[in-house]
Every structure is written in structure tokens, then in C-alpha cells.
Symmetry: D3
Subunit: 293 residues, 6 copies
């Protein structure tokens, strides 16, 4: 194996680490963190993983320290990293709403719009992005880097406004703050270094990983459904079945019944079942899927 045939991949440390490892496991790669070692083991000789802060990954992908990586769209923008965005990967969210960086002020303050903050102090972990946002809008503000617990800054009188990430807004509200603008929606992205993307072997490897990650994500909300049907009902039933993939139909041993097997959304099974029973379906079984590609 020549040295070009290793893809260096960055994996985010911390809150997304466990969910990312589970996603890769379903996709076919087992990533094992090494106690006392910074390169987790991966069961693929063509890959080498690094665990790294989400904030730093895009920098390392941009400068070629890593060929590819998973990180948040927010930190890619904060770092103004010049990388290839291979795809969006939406997983492990607390709620069903997207994560958003919002501009928030004290609930009883007079500020209603971003322009009301002209001349004011804004605390955020996303300093660069926030600075660009207000600069482009022609609103002069002072942006101060926050080491965390940003919501408390306004309450303590240490800042006039904050730019902070939230899904449901509940932490913001619990601090008595009011959201006055949404600056950015974010999610995990799979990114690649520009040169690595031009290298045919690496690009092929990256695209293969991408296919399998999406196959694993898709399988999360799908199930296999299998049932027995009288042969003369098969047309009726076919009309009912959602066309996710072509059904597999086989003859049952020594009868004129058929076995029909399909892939459907797990959420739809509960309404399909009574309608299938009406049509004469029997022995309906449901099983879980690892991947659907």
C-alpha cells in the first residue's frame, strides 16, 4: 500500500463524538478511541482518524493536515475555510428543529432589530462570523469573544447582546433573553480538502464513505416488511404499497399464496397494517435495517 492511499479523516470530539461513532459503525467502520493516544483505531487500512475539536477541524482540512472531516457549518464559516462541502449530514439533534445561531438581547431591553445595536457590545463564541455579519450590514458594533456561558453575559450586564446557538430557544428564554434575529442555520457537514478532492483515489474514497454514511442515516427511519398474500390479491395490495423500492415477490411452498417483501418508512407501518389485513395479508413481520442505499 503506497502512502497516497491513506485518507486522513477528522472526527469531532465532545458532544457529537458518540453519535458520530455510532453513525460510522452502522456505515461499516468501527472507530475505537485509544486511551492515551490521539489517533483512534479504525478498521480500514486506507483511513486514519483524528479526534479534534469541531472548532478546529475545518482549519486542518483546509491546510491539508486532514484530507476530509465532519464538522459544523457554523465553524467552517467562522474559520472562513476554503474547503469542498461534500454533503450535509443531519443527525443526533435534540429536537426536530435545526440548530440556529441567533442574536438575543435582554427581554426588557429596547432593542428590536440588529440595527438597534449600533455602537453596542456583542458577546459570542462565533466572533469572526458575527463581525462579518454586522460589517456587511453596515452596523458598527463591538464583538467580544466569550469563553462560554454566553447567555449569562447579558444578564450580568457584561454585554448588550449575544450571538449564541440554540435549537428550541429554551435556554435563551430561561435566561430572560429575547431573540431578535436568526443569523445562521447550521448542521454537520462532510468536508474535503481541495487538493484531496482532485486526487482521484481520495475523491473516490470520500464519495464511497459519503454513500455509506447516507445509507446508514436513511435506514434509521425505514424497516423491512414481509407478508403472505393470496395470489389473486397481489394487484390490490401493490396499489397500496409505497414505491420505496420494487417489492420482492416469491411463491409460498405448495400453495397459491405469495410472499411479498418491501421497504417502508417505519412511521407508515401502523396505518398500512390494518389496510393490508383487510386485503387478506397474513403473517406480517417487520424487521430493522442497517443500511438502505
Amino acid at each position: 500500500m503506497s502512502s497516497e492511499q491513506v485518507l486522513k479523516l477528522g472526527i469531532p470530539k465532545g458532544s457529537l463524538e458518540e453519535a458520530t461513532r455510532r453513525l460510522f459503525a452502522r456505515a461499516g467502520w468501527k472507530i475505537k478511541p485509544h486511551h492515551r493516544n490521539y489517533f483512534p483505531e479504525i478498521n480500514d487500512q486506507e483511513m486514519q482518524c483524528s479526534l479534534c475539536r469541531a472548532q478546529e477541524i475545518s482549519r486542518y482540512v483546509e491546510n491539508g493536515t486532514m484530507d476530509a472531516g465532519l464538522t459544523g457549518k457554523d465553524w467552517i464559516m467562522e474559520n472562513e475555510s476554503d474547503v469542498v462541502v461534500v454533503s450535509d449530514l443531519v443527525y443526533s439533534k435534540v429536537s426536530n428543529r435545526p440548530a440556529r445561531w441567533v442574536l438575543a438581547v435582554a427581554g426588557d431591553s429596547p432593542y428590536r432589530r440588529p440595527e438597534d445595536l449600533s455602537g453596542k457590545k456583542i458577546a459570542t463564541e462565533l466572533r469572526n462570523f458575527t463581525h462579518n455579519y454586522f460589517h456587511n450590514a453596515g452596523i458598527p458594533v463591538e464583538v467580544e469573544f466569550s469563553w462560554g456561558a454566553t447567555e449569562a453575559k447579558v444578564v450580568e450586564g457584561l454585554a448588550d447582546a449575544i450571538v449564541e446557538v440554540t435549537e428550541t430557544g429554551s435556554t435563551i428564554k430561561a435566561h430572560g433573553l429575547r431573540i431578535i434575529a436568526e443569523l445562521l442555520q447550521t448542521n454537520t457537514q462532510f468536508i474535503a480538502n481541495k487538493e484531496a478532492w482532485e486526487d482521484p483515489w481520495k475523491r473516490n474514497k470520500i464519495e464511497n464513505i459519503n454513500t455509506l454514511l447516507h445509507g446508514a442515516l436513511r435506514a434509521d427511519r425505514l424497516v423491512g416488511l414481509k407478508m403472505n398474500l393470496p395470489a389473486d390479491r397481489v394487484e390490490d395490495v401493490m396499489a397500496l404499497l409505497p414505491s420505496m423500492t420494487a417489492p420482492t415477490v416469491a411463491h409460498l411452498y405448495n400453495t397459491d399464496w405469495l410472499s411479498v417483501e418491501i421497504v417502508v418508512e417505519e412511521d407508515r407501518v401502523r396505518e398500512l397494517v390494518p389496510r393490508l389485513q383487510e386485503k387478506g395479508a397474513e403473517a406480517i413481520i417487520e424487521y430493522a435495517l442497517n443500511k438502505v442505499i
Copy 2:
């Protein structure tokens, strides 16, 4: 969707809550408890869930506050609630033995039968049921409501006997008590309000939920089994196979072997496998099931 088309369902809080949520998940409904909200979210616009003490659910189903609910048979009897029992749901038990409310006394006391307790004091959380039991048997006793830790009452000399729930009897024994009668066997029941049961839309919804809950429970002890067989052995093998559902038989590519797929009880697989091997079965695989209906 009109407002009649919402089914209000009561889910028991506490020890059964987690197991109930897992059962509904396998049946196709994801129930997410809301932090600071009393109506957990459910991924079905036709349903609304309430989390409620098992002791109180039958009262609310009876008076129509809820259309249906899951709770223990014991608390339905304690409350003397006039409701429709849709089905028994047996899940999440500590042992393989049913939960029973028993009458227990000190191990070294002279009491051998319920009638020996005439004129004595009995502590229990199931006051009403216990009172009725002894009243119907014509045995005069004093029934005292216990706020918990009931087994200790006899040891401390605060009561002469207790009526308490147990599966294996081990907590009773560990307190040095002796069981002298079993008053009631209990399990979870799916119950409905009498008027809701007469409403065709609600009854249909309740029956659909019931079908899928039982499908999920059944799948817990069943597996899919698949094997390859020489075509001339198929009759022999069919004779061996338990007739849970009709087997699915398909021809293997370019050979005269067949593929046979069945659903069997997981516990029987270990004895089936050597007999199938004797008959010439190869490539036997077993997989898990989510639902069997």
C-alpha cells in the same frame, strides 16, 4: 382533521414508564417526554398522551378525561372503575411469575388462614379492595391505609397483617413474613372509556393500537430463521417445522436447492438447528423481528 379525531391516552408514570415507552416505540409510536410539559409528544396527530400515576388512570378513563389508558388491573379494581378492558398486556416483569397481591403475616405468628385475622389490623396501599375482600368473606377486620414500606409494619408491631404486591415473594420472605393467601393476580391492562368505545372512529383507533402493541410483544420471543435445502429434502424438513406461519420457499440460483424462511420461537432454535443439519440444511441464519402480526 376534526377535533373528534384525537384519542386521549393515559400512560403510567414511574416504574412502568420506560418499558411502556419502549413497547410503543416497537409498535411504531415514539413518545417523547417534554421537559416542563405534561403532555409528552407523540408522532401521531391523531393521539394525545398524558403521563399519570397508575393509581389514578382508571378514574380518568372512567369519567372521560381520557379515552383510553394503560394501568394495572389491581388499581382498576381498587377504584371500582367502570371501563372497557380491551386486552391484557404482559410485559416488563421482573420474573416469569405473575404479580400477586398477597395476605402476609409474621413468620412466627399463629395465623394460617384469612379467617384467623378476625378483629385484627391490616395495613395496605389497596385499602378499598382489601376492605371488600374481607367484607365479602364475612371476616371483620380493621384496614389501615399504608403510605409505603408496608412489609415493615408487621415487624414493627404496627399491624397484624399486610396486603402487598409481590412477584417472587422474596421481599416478603426477607422481612420474615409468611404468605397465607393470594387475593389477586394482576397485570397491565389496556382500558377504554365506555362512550369512546361506542364511537366508531375511536374504537377503530384503539383496536389498531391494540393490534400493533400485541404485534410488538409477540416479536419479542420470535425470530426469523432462513436456510438452504436440497429440493428433495423439503418435505422432510417441513414436517419438522413448527407451523407458526407458512414458510416462504424460493429456488436458489442455478441449483436445485431451495431457500426456506420461517418464523419460530427463539427458545426452540437451539433444538431445531441440529435436526435441520441432519436433514441437510445449510447456511442457517437467524435474525431479529420488530413486529409479528
Copy 3:
């Protein structure tokens, strides 16, 4: 059932206990530890389980207290037990490297080879084996039994060398020690008493357990893969597919596509998928397996 028809099986207590119980569960036997009882419950009337230290099991199998058991090859050798080794069972390892008993010395000591330790003191939990090893090599040493925390002994000046088990060597290194020889590779073994092995009923039962344990272990690294294919591509695709078991091929309803189902190593799926897609495969799904026999 006559009393000869019970097989007494020893299960290792402690670090391997949970993994062993999970392995048996997948094989079809549910072992439930009894609080305050030393014979865990097992859902098979023909078996009786004992939980026992791995260090002691081979002694009990040798003397017939147990008919069969699971334990480490290292402790079988330490005890010089005369038993039948039914098979090697490799599971639940921390890393992908085998567990090894190594000879280690202080990093800054002059010792380079076992013979340099002539006349020195060696601490180990595997006293007998170590004594034999040096005796057979004609190197006179003093072997001292260690109660644990063996690595610290050299650091504290309490021994000149240690013989200790390790997978990655990292704990050894973290104590500043240097490995100078590997004395033994070890793994779990399924062993039987010699007389039990001659009893036809017991031997048959042991072989049946062995088949199902290996079936469960094999399923751990295999998955089911199913796809739809144009009929004219089936020969091309067959050439690609690893010959684990014969594929199951069925016709899709009312088309000239085929459904193909195979069992493959999970690790190979990620490279198979792009090649299958090139050949025209669609609707590729992957599912998990409990057993493959």
C-alpha cells in the same frame, strides 16, 4: 428426565461474565444471575450453570465437579489441568491484539533476555506457569506470587521482573517497564471433563452448545445484504460476491429484475456497495444477523 441428563457448566465470574452472558443469549440461552444464589438460572432444563473464578474453573472441570466450562487457556496451563479442549472462543477483547503474558523489567535496568534474570526475583499471578517456564529454560529464578498491581512491584523495588498479562502493552509502558519476552498467548477456551466427553448424551449436548456459540460469534461480523438486479447482470454480479453461502435469488413481481440475497462480512460491505452499484444493483439493504450456522 433422568439425572444423567443434566450438563453442569462453569461460567467465568468477573470481567468476562457480562460478555459471556451476552454470547449465550445470542446463542439461545438466557442466563440470569440469582441474587444470593450461586447457580444462575438458565432457560434449559438440561443444563445447570455455576459462576466461578476463571482461575479455578479448569480444576473443577478436571475433577468432574463440572462437566464443561469456559475459561482462559492461561489458567488451564497454570493449573496443568488434564481436560478436553472443545474449541477456542475469541470474544470481548479490548483490542484486536491477542492477550499475552509477558516478561517485563524496569525500563532503565540492564536486563535484555530471560537468561539475564538468573538469580533474580520475579513477581506474577501465574506462579506455576512462570516457574515451569524458567525451569525448562534452565534459568534459576525466585518466583513470587503477586496479589495484584503487579506492575508497581518493579517500580517500588519489590521485584526484579514481572510476568503479567497485556493486550496493547500500554499499562506496562505507563509504569516505565520494558517487555523482554512473550511467554504465552491466551484466549477463552470451551473445555470438557474427559469422562463427560465419553458419555454420548453429554458429548452431544456439548457439541450442540459449541455449534450455537460459534454460530452467534460468526454472526457478529456478518450481515445480510439484499439487492435488486436486472436479470442479465446476474452472472456478472455473482462473480463479485464472496461465496459465504449460496445466494438466494427470486424474481421481482412483473419485471425481469431479480432479488438477490447474500450473507457477507460486514467489513466488506463498504467495498462491495460501489461495485454492485456499477453493475446496476439497486435498492441495496443491509440487516443484522443473530446467528449464522
Copy 4:
């Protein structure tokens, strides 16, 4: 020791148990809970302890099962127990505010005063007390026993109001409820059976326990303070010192300085120190106290 010379004392189980045990320890009695025994061990042959639910203790003190006990004033009133209240013991509170049973309604409901609830349903664990309160006020209401999680009842529409205990009101507010009346302030009380109180030996024992419990409680907020002073400043300093107890004054060895030792409230030390220093005090030391009687 004759059998009359044992005092049977009830100790509340659960949330107050640990704090009660610590209070008795500082007072001089070590109470050790017995695993599998209902009478905790106490290092005083003249006493016998029972651990019991706070809700039930006053019933057992009233009927003579226990001679004395610690429990909440609220449960004494709920049970309408006819007992002697020896003293109030205020300890282990979450906040500095007293625990109160309050009447609370939905924040957006029209109810402002108890009389607005005429004809409504009220859920509470304190059913008897609540019934009496409204009955005496001439307001007809339906009082329903709540098995817990009472605050949720109003939110879920299962009750119109609740009567619940609170210190800071924050749980009430967090559920969106509004307090419209305070029905009862409560705290722990030391109570005695009426006959036991007439028995000279028991009454003396109860009063001795009471003295030492209060001595331990008092010591919690007091400290010993000791300092050296020039003899001619002693009058000035005496004027400053709070007269908690008479100061102990001693001569320092071979000088005309004095040593002065007093007992003061811990909270006052920080303001006393600079004033003592101004007066010439030196070597000021502070130490903790176990009891002050």
C-alpha cells in the same frame, strides 16, 4: 433496668431521615439504621427507635405504639392526632423561608380567592385538612386525594386547584401556577403521647432529649471567640460584646494582658473583628461548637 424505663421514639423516614440522624448525633445519640431490621440501633439503653413515614408517626404516638416522635405539624393536623407538642424544631430547610401548604391555581385562570373555587375540584395529599379548611370557610368543594406530582394536575386539566407544600414557591411557579392563599405553615415538631407525658420517668427523659436537641441546633449558628487584651481595655471591649453568655476572663502569664473568651453568633464575627482590633485585641481565634445549652 425495668421495662418501663424504655422510651419508644419515632423517627421520620425519607427526606428528613439523614438530617434528623445528624441532629441526634450532635445531641449525643448515634442512631444506626439496621440493614434488614426495623428498629435502628441507638447508643442509649433507655431508648428504642422506629423509622416510620412522617405521615403515620402522629397516629402511632396518639395510640401509644410510640411514646414520642418527630414529625411535621402538617401531618399531625391531617391526622387530627391528640398529642402533646413538646417543642418546634426548625432544621434542614432548603431555604430560609418556612414550609407552607398553599392553594394554587392555573396562572391564567380567573380564580383570585378561595371562595372563587366554590363547586370546583381540588387535588392534594392533605385531603382531610383541606376538606376541613373549606368546610369551615363554608365553601363547597370536591377534594380528591392525589398520589403525587400534584402540581401537574392543574396543567393537565385534571383538577381546578391544588393544595401543595412549598418553601420558595419555585416549583409552583415553574408549573405556571399562581398561589392564591396560604393555608398552613409547617415545621418539624417533637410530640409525645399524653399518657407518656404524665409518667414522670418518661417526661423527664423526653425533656432531657428536648434540651440536648435544642442545644445542638443552637450551636449550629454560634462560635467560640477568644482573644488577648490589655487589662485597661477590658471595660471598653466588654461594652462591645453581645451578652450571649458571661465572658470567661483569665490573666495571661507574666503580663498584664487578659484572655477573654465568649460565645457569639457566627454571622456577627466579621463585624466584631475590626472593632476588637481597634480596641487593641490580639490573637483572636474562632472555634466551632457542638452544643450550647
Copy 5:
């Protein structure tokens, strides 16, 4: 500081470690375990500590690796170590009963006395001691070393009797065993190497440590008590006071009252207080002690 002036002290690792460290802290030595180091830090340049298994300490003290150590009398006897026993240190016991090594058999076995075990198998962690015991009694038995969970051995039929340590006997009983003899009472001992004991500097250091450890143990059950008294009552009160140490009596400022301070057993305070109050004592305060020598 010359090298002879360091005393090497062994401290038991594991269950007694925390209690031992707390005892030394009250005696005046702070022992801090080093993460990644086997010599805990101690705030005394004249001492060096090692953490070591209780089972091994007497061996190291005997051979001079350590000058002194704390360990159980049982393990000193098991190792037949020839050391100086400086003193017995009784601390950190679960119950008030001494720890004993007992001979136990199955509850339903016929064995009543040690001699009934002639020719039988005995499992124990204290192999050497047990062997000597039976040898000296002229009873031939087979003694087998047990790796732990010894009580289970009899239940599982792996031994006829066990020799095991117990305080209350409850674990023995919980396993259905019966104690038929007590072989040894044990407690922690402070031991010294024989040569170290002859070295005047080391012996002096060891005796100093011994004095302070006992001073700390004694203080655990004593308290300081201080009160104010009218001068004319002092004789009466002196007669009441236990003569632990001579009382300190001082005059109160500008009155004819006296301040009296004594050291008494904590357990006696509760009976002293009412009698002191009767005699006119006021402002009684109690405080804790670190050491009493």
C-alpha cells in the same frame, strides 16, 4: 539529614486505606496518594510511605523493606512474620463486634466441631494459618486456597467447610452456613522490623507516631465541656465530674462565678447536662477534640 533518619512505613491499600489516612491526618500527618506514583507524599521529611496490600505488609516489615507498618493481626499470623507488635489500633469497624476468622459449614451438614472435619476439604484465604491450626489440633484436613467469594464454596459443593472473616456473621448466615468454631480474633496492629526497633532514632520515631495515633483515636469519643458556675457550687459539681483529666477553673470577670472546663466522654454528656443544670451550671458549651494525649 542523614539517610538513617528516614522511617519507611507501610500503609494498607484498599478497604482500610481511607480510614487509615483519616487517622493519620488527625494525628498530624497528611498522606496524599500520588496519581501515577507508588509512594504517597507525606508531610514529614523523616518518613516515607508505601501503599501496599494488607496481606503483604508484614513480609516487607519482616525483611526490612519497610521499618514499620499497619496491617491486620490475621495476615501477620498467616505470614508467620517475625516482627515487633508495637500496639493494637482498633478503628473503622463496621459493627461494635471484633472481626473474627471462623470455621463455617453448611447449615444442614452433620459437622458440629472442628474434629468432625477430619479428612475433609477446607477453603480459605488464610491457608497457612488454617493448616497450622488443624495440624496443631491433630486433625488431618485438606486446606485449599480460595481466590475469594469463599462462602459460596460450601454452597456450590466445592468445599466441606470454610475459614472466613466476619464481624456480625450476617454474610455467613445469608449463605446458609453455620459457624462451628472461632479460630482467631483480629484487628489492625502497628508493627516494626526487629532491627529498626533496636535503632534508637527509629524506635523513638515509631513510639512518637504510636503516641499520636492513640491520641487521635482517644479524641474520637471525647469532647471538651465548659460551663459557668456560682463559686459556692464548685465543690458539689466537682464531685459529679468524671476524673478524665483535672478540670481547668478560672474566675469570670467581675463576678464570683467560675468557668470550669473538662474533657468527658461524648456519650456521658447527655446525662451530665441535666445534673449540671440542677447544680446551677449555665452557658454549657461542648466542642470537638482532635487529640487527647
Copy 6:
């Protein structure tokens, strides 16, 4: 109370928070963190507390947002804050060695002195200070801010050297790094805003807090020691006693013995005791202190 009479105090959040709260408690101020509120409650109407990152406090004290605060000397220098340093407060350290910011490189790298790093990349959380350090030394380096896990950076090849805080150096060594220079020793400092320091009321309040904090810190290593002595030995003993504060001497009741009470360093007690015993001291008791001023 006018509004000028409130002192705004910053308390460090995180690792020092608990130790700081305990220090203030011993000094006489109880700081209670408010759930969901950023101003912890303090039992002094003249003070208002804020919990804040140690990194940020000096900035807020400099600009007057806070009047005074506790934070690390390192972060005061990093922020180049122009504040009054009231005193150094040394508490809650892991070891007895001071915390130091050191320059560390890979163990096997060629770098030996700071100047060897000319042109290299250095990762640190103390970016500003590090930049100044190298700038003043005339060594051109690239200083990169690190988000944490800094030690790993050199191992992963992401930096040539790091500047990181350490007490014992053990984490540095565990990563295979080598310290080549110490750049800064640090500890907690009590700092004040320059204007607040000029305000007489605030300065007086700050100095009062400072006195009591140091009184509490001093008491940590001191104890009270009390003993009885024959009157004729008092001169001999006085010569032995460390002159921490003047001893308190009182006559013992009806004897010619004296009671002597002193304050000494806890560490010295163990050597004082045998010498006091030689001089005839008896009934030596030791007790703990809260404050020594």
C-alpha cells in the same frame, strides 16, 4: 443603606469555585449559588457577588464592572489588567508545588532552550503572555491559540511546542513531552479596581474581607493546644513553645498545677508532644480552629 455601600465582588467559576466558597464560609460569608441566576446569594447586604470565568475577572475589575475579585495571577498578566493587587491567596492546590506555566516540547525533539524554537509554532491558552515573552526575548515564533487538550497538539504534529500550566509536571510527562523552560509561577490573587481602592468605604470593606480570608486560611494549618503543667515547670515549657500568640495560663482548681493554652502549627504538634511530656505536661488536648487573626 445608600447604593455606594455595596461592594461588587467577582468569584471564579469552575475548578476553584467550590474551594473559594468554602474559604468564604470559614471567613464568615455564606455564598449560595442560585439555580438559574448569575448573582449568587450572600449573607451580607453590603456585598453583591458574580460568578465569572477566572480568565475574564481581571478585565471586569479593571473596567469597574466589579469593585474587587479573586482570580489567577496568570490571567491578570494575560489580560495586562491595570488593577490593585490586595494580596496573594494560596489555597486548594493539588500538590505542594506552585502552579507554573511551562514551555514543553516532544521528548525526542532536538529543542533544549526557548531560542531553539525560533520560527516554530507554539500552541497555548495563554496567547498574549506567550507572545510577549518571546517578543521580549527577541525570538520570533508563531503563537497559536489552543482550545484545550494542548498537550496532545505536539503529539499529533499540530504544534512544535506548547505553553501549558502544571503543578507536578505529570500530565506533561504522560504525553511524552519535555519541559525546557518555566515562564511564569501563578496563584490566586485578591484584586481591586483602582477607583474603588480610593473610595474609603470600599477600601475599608475590601481590607476587612482580606483580614478575614487570611484569618481563615491561617486557621487551616493551626490548632489550639491545651495542657496541664506543674507550676514549677512553666518556665521550662514556655521556652519550648513557639511564640505564635501569647499563651493563656490559668490555675487548676485546688492544686498548684497550671492550665496552659496556645495556638501552634498543626505540623509541629507531633514533635512538641514528646518534649512537653518530658517536661511533665499532662492531659494534652488539641482542637481545631475556624479563624486566627
